[in-house]
Symmetry: C2
Subunit: 344 residues, 2 copies
């Protein structure tokens, strides 16, 4: 690889001049020299070494992305949105799978700092983000890509869909269709998003006066190291309990689409038909939602806009000086065939 010195030699100037050219430092360049440098660069196919640049300036054009597992289609979509938004600003993305393990998360974060990343985006903010908070207080920019304005932690910016609103809209939608016996199926309260979604369900159910008709089914997930396909897998198992419930709910809201896919598969195995026997609403609106049998009603997250905001938050000059912010985006209800009016 050609260095700036090779270019300088080829153009018959000093490295400084090439550097000046590259960073177009104005006022200092005769047109002739400018041209000589230009041709030398193209002929040698010179590209400045990002590494040297990093070392010198201290600034990187790299951000770290922490997700539980990219094999989870939701985080696949998140990773793609983030990478595209980053690329639009000339940033590279380093991908890390944390498997929801705080220890791993912390280790990754430290590695990323050693790599000199500009900031870190964490796809699923664990409930006790002390490990990240500590790094944030040392000047690292951190954005939690899910969570909740209330749960803001010092130094950690939040860019998230309104999780409570998602479940609220789901309940509203089902109640409008005449459903009252509504069950919410969720995993353990491990992440801020899960907690907020559950809360949204509870308040909406109360507002509609559903009382005992509203139920919450928490399914347990293995501690970590599962590729998140387990979420769907466990949905399959959880379906049995729902199918056998004494007063079976007429509608189901799943913590997310992945779980919904599993639940749908499980219900099918037990001879329960969606939407005739039970209605179902998912959250996230994966592209898979509309390919399901039947296509599933879900709440869409505006991922592209959110990713854009997250990157802007890290890249923006505001940087460390900015106080902790929370940007909350509203979800959009996408109605499909999995929800029909309740049988009377």
């Amino acid at each position: 690889m050609a260095t700036i010195l090779d270019v300088a030699r080829a153009a018959g100037v000093s490295a400084s001049s090439v550097s000046n050219f590259l960073n177009d430092r104005r006022g200092k360049m005769a047109p002739a020299t400018r041209e000589r440098i230009e041709t030398a660069i193209t002929e040698l196919r010179y590209r400045p070494s990002r590494v040297a640049l990093q070392l010198k300036t201290g600034k990187t054009a790299t951000i770290g992305l922490l997700v539980p597992a990219v094999a989870n289609p939701f985080f696949g979509a998140v990773a793609m949105a983030i990478q595209r938004a980053a690329q639009a600003r000339g940033y590279q993305v380093i991908l890390c799978n944390t498997f929801r393990d705080p220890k791993r998360e912390r280790e990754f974060a430290e590695d990323l700092v050693a790599l000199g990343v500009r900031g870190i985006i964490t796809g699923a903010s664990l409930l006790n983000p002390g490990h990240l908070s500590e790094l944030a207080s040392k000047g690292l920019s951190v954005v939690a890509f899910e969570g909740d304005a209330g749960a803001a932690v010092p130094g950690i910016h939040v860019v998230s869909v309104d999780n409570a609103m998602a479940t609220t809209l789901a309940v509203d939608h089902l109640v409008t269709l005449g459903h009252r016996r509504i069950a919410y199926v969720t995993g353990p309260a491990q992440t801020a998003a899960r907690v907020a979604r559950l809360k949204g369900f509870r308040t909406a159910a109360e507002r509609h006066g559903l009382g005992e008709d509203a139920s919450v089914h928490e399914i347990s997930l293995p501690p970590n190291d599962y590729g998140d396909d387990m979420i769907a897998e466990l949905g399959v198992g959880a379906a049995l309990a729902l199918a056998k419930a004494p007063r079976r709910p007429t509608a189901l809201i799943a913590m997310n689409d992945l779980l919904a896919i599993g639940l749908a598969a499980g219900l099918r195995e037990h001879g329960i038909t969606i939407p005739d026997d039970i209605a179902m609403v998912g959250i996230d609106d994966l592209f898979l939602a509309r390919l399901m049998n039947p296509p599933m009603t879900s709440l869409r997250q505006p991922l592209a806009a959110m990713a854009e905001a997250a990157i802007a938050c890290l890249v923006g000059d505001a940087g460390e000086a900015a106080p902790t912010t929370a940007l909350i985006f509203p979800p959009e209800l996408i109605v499909r065939q999995s929800t029909v009016p309740a049988a009377i």
Copy 2:
């Protein structure tokens, strides 16, 4: 962030000694000094700057991963497998979505080189990898994560499932079940894998003497910039043509599971039932295959082993000296309920 000099000062030694300690250069260290350095490091929470290290040694612990789109669950799984394998050897992964655009692919590759990556893994090798080949000839390590031993390009290592074998096994399986009117549904011959799969289908069909009974349906995909969910989406549309075909096939093989998911949804819309009306086999064995309705027979790729091999290939000392290699892994047929014996 503490630097090696801060540690040296804290321990009352020179930076060289700290460096010696870090790279355990043996023979040269009194136990007392060693301890002083050790405590200084832990107290200052010192971590060597990867950036400086890179600049000095020229070696990075970073690899680049080029995939069409991580939002595609298959590439999500690939990305996760690669990242895990990389992590096991202390490597970081930089993620790039190419949208199957050679221009973008080339640009990413050059950016990655400027970043000093140790090598590049490309998830879907386009048919004319001239752009990568050129970089490879300049000393960059490149591994194509799909392809075909025959299509080997100078300088590009291949680590792939045996794509031809995948379709061959699918045909064998269906023929064993008594099917003869078998259709293969594929996208345009854009990647090495697609070409190899098609070839495998054709040779297997010929070997079984299927003649006109074996048909190939190529569906066209938009040029790029689609998030790969379009593949499934287009499967939905393609299902119509298959449903209306004069002598409808009794079995379908899809280029991959994502397309199969779309086809399944489309067939359903046209009132065609799997497996009674038509049997279906996918390729890749996404975790979604077993959650489909009905669960789908598919050909599994040993992604973990393949990722391991790909990383070993890049990291191994062999490096540039090694001749172009091709490591081909056999796929495994996973039989589920989407394939049943043909109606007589």
